[in-house]
């Protein structure tokens, strides 16, 4: 108040107004300086050279791109083991819970395209055991299912008929409708007892599946 009484031309230079407008409207890169004057009631008859206030108009727009991920602690992480895969069938289900607020995609990539043994396989012997990978995913529109031989999601395979081969991206992977926190989703891996061709060599076999999800475009 003291300052106001000492000067009739308190002003607020509002160059920031123009700066803020420029940010909000990149296409409208204009600048303007507005000087506002405080009307001191003690000064009567003074003709102020400018407006009594400066009006800042800052249009603010935003969008929500959606989120997509696995629920905390609900990603399909697992370590599975089955002995005697040559003589005994096996099956495992690895559950997961997705939290995607919009349509999304899921994809699976196999490191070896089979359960693979590092040993050399002579003619008539085999060091690769096939199995099947299945997806069953709960969504707002029901369960989405798909299954592929693991060879079709081998990371080394270029093209594949499998709908969920590769790494999920906005345009890659099996499309799933919105699914947020729904239970019942799982990835299943299974194989019957190995029936040939050839004879599986003895030893340890392994493969790694990478399951990825991504918002769909």
């Amino acid at each position: 108040m003291l300052l106001g009484r000492n000067s009739a031309k308190w002003l607020v230079r509002s160059a920031v107004t123009a700066f803020a407008l420029t940010l909000a409207h990149p296409a409208m890169a204009q600048s303007a300086t507005i000087t506002a004057y405080f009307r001191d009631p003690a000064l009567t008859g003074y003709v102020y050279p400018g407006p009594a206030n400066a009006i800042f108009q800052i249009p603010v727009t935003a969008s929500v791109g959606g989120t997509c991920g696995f629920a905390t602690g609900q990603a399909p992480n697992a370590t599975l083991f089955h002995a005697n895969i040559d003589t005994t069938g096996w099956s495992d289900q690895v559950p997961f819970t997705a939290e995607c607020t919009a349509p999304w995609r899921i994809a699976v990539s196999s490191q070896n395209g089979a359960l693979k043994n590092s040993g050399a396989a002579a003619t008539g012997y085999q060091n690769r055991a096939p199995y099947t990978v299945s997806l069953n995913v709960a969504s707002d529109s029901g369960t989405v299912s798909a299954a592929c031989p693991v060879a079709e999601i081998d990371q080394a395979v270029g093209s594949s008929p499998c709908s969920f081969k590769g790494t999920a991206a906005p345009t890659t992977g099996l499309v799933i409708p919105r699914s947020f926190g729904l239970s019942g989703s799982y990835i299943q891996v299974a194989a019957p007892a190995y029936s040939g061709p050839d004879v599986l060599i003895s030893g340890t076999y392994n493969d790694t599946l990478i399951v990825t999800i991504s918002p769909a475009s």
Binding site: T79, L200, S214
Partner: protein, 223 residues
């Protein structure tokens, strides 16, 4: 503190002749920072990120050997080989080649097999026992109730083959590593015989009897 019309003291502190430049600059910087932050938020809606799960799958195949017959798998093979009459007209043992041929022809497919092992190598053991007639026990000199021979087993591998022999007179079975995988397809174990004889002078008369019996045991184990 705010003025009645809503301007803050910081906004109002710039007045002619007053030292308000520094405060004004700080105010502008703060507003600019807020504006830039808001602009950045507007320009970058939620980032499309990919999240990952990892499933490690391991399995095992035990080291083992098996007899394959078509689609059937078993742990044994073999047959009974009825050699028939062993002696010649003079009562002595038929010659070795004849008996070896008889063994092969009578044994037929039963003395061959398709054996595979999941292991990279295998231990093979051949143990042959002579044909002995229990009813002829105690035969006097010049007579024999025992017919000896040598068992010869050929193992066909993925590369090459191995012949493993054991004579009925050997104190122990013959055992050795094959040094490779058995051939995965077809007959790969074949049993034959050689050096049929009676012990002693070699012209002993065989004691009569229908109970001459012996055996050849072939064992293939994963190594």
């Amino acid at each position: 503190m705010s003025s009645p019309d809503g301007w803050s003291n910081r906004d109002l502190i710039e007045a002619p002749g007053q030292s308000g430049k520094l405060l004004r600059k700080k105010t502008m910087k703060k507003i600019a920072l807020i504006a830039m932050t808001a602009a950045a938020a507007i320009a970058s809606p939620a980032m499309a990120q990919t999240v990952t799960g990892t499933i490690n799958i391991t399995g095992s195949v035990a080291a083992k050997c098996m007899v394959v017959s078509g689609t059937a798998v078993s742990s044994t093979f073999g047959t009974n080989v009825a050699m028939g009459e062993l002696s010649q007209a003079d009562g002595t043992l038929k010659d070795s080649a004849t008996l070896a041929s008889t063994f092969n022809s009578v044994g037929g497919t039963g003395i061959a097999a398709h054996v595979v092992c999941t292991s990279a190598d295998a231990t093979v053991t051949v143990d042959a026992d002579p044909l002995v007639s229990a009813s002829g026990a105690g035969a006097p000199t010049g007579y024999s109730n025992t017919v000896s021979y040598q068992a010869d087993v050929t193992f066909t591998k993925t590369t090459g083959s191995s012949l493993v022999s054991n004579d009925t007179t050997a104190a122990a079975a013959t055992s050795q590593a094959l040094g490779g995988r058995l051939a995965a397809s077809g007959t790969n174990v074949v049993v034959a015989t050689s050096n049929w004889r009676t012990l002693g002078t070699g012209d002993e008369l065989l004691t009569s009897g229908t109970d001459y019996s012996g055996k050849i045991v072939v064992t293939v184990s994963p190594l």
